[in-house]
Amino acid sequence: MCTTCGCGDTHLVPVELHEKILAGNDRVATHNREHFTAAGVLALNVMGSPGAGKTALLEATARASGGRWRMGAVSGDLATDRDARRLEKAGIPSRAITTGQGCHLDATLVHDALHGFPWEELDLFFIENVGNLVCPAIYDLGQAANVVALSVTEGEDKPLKYPVMFQAADLVLLTKCDLLPHLEVDVEQIRDGLRRVMPHPEVILLSAKTGEGIPAWVAWLEARRAALPRRHGHTHGPGGGHHHHH
């Protein structure tokens, strides 16, 4: 009410907020991250175009692991659970997140997929995002790092065309490098593009088919696992210091 004369008029007030529109997603992502960290699970958000070789990468990782890591995955897909089934076959327990029309995963979709999934027992948890070089980049899921797969068949201009995705990447995997002899693609030009969109460019050239570059990828995973905060004994039981995942 207008206090000057009591006429009942309303006041026009500007409410200054300066807050992230994705603050709600970020809160859930922080919650996911706390769970992963407390359980000593290295969670990776794997992004890239459709057909960049994300699923093949995880299959190759399972082969390279040789049982050394307990691995699991959730994979976002518009309409099918094909990727999840492929991963299961490769020995990676998986769950599909069918997004329908959704072009990306968000923190809540990942959180809900964790229910009833034995993620706490894992060393490596892959979140295979929806194939898309645009939308997934801006959604924090609670991962420890973003890994972007870019196949050498996609051309040299992709880093400069999709700077947001590559800027968000902690590691870029240039996949399908076994095809290079058949292509007119200059890998050095892709690397140069990445240096112009990533302040910390980390790039591995690899082939899931021939195994080239897989040792460097495995070494990167080892280093990331070693950098995780130490797991504090048993955190699952009552009084374990953090609330159990519900």
Partner: protein, 114 residues
Amino acid sequence: MHEYSLVQSLVDRVETLVRERSATAVHRVVVSVGELAGVDPGLFRTAYETFRDGTVCERAALELRTVPASWACPACGRSIPPGEVLACSPCGVPARLAAGGDALLLETVEMEVP
């Protein structure tokens, strides 16, 4: 295209504010979009115009402020022009992005309160 889900988050937030403050109307919503926020301002506006019908934002104008991505050396302060390698070679350090260049922020909501 994720602009619709972003607009939904925006409208949800404004609805909460309206409830909290018992506002009778929303006049203006100001959003800043960083060049590297991963949001197309045109698509965001289209999504807003479509989505706001029947919400508290129905009559609220959307003001979009774009924030350019500006990179600089954190050591010597030299600015790195767009398209250049994102590192300062004399200092040997990676460039740093100025605040806002990759953010999508709800800046201000102008509303009528009793």
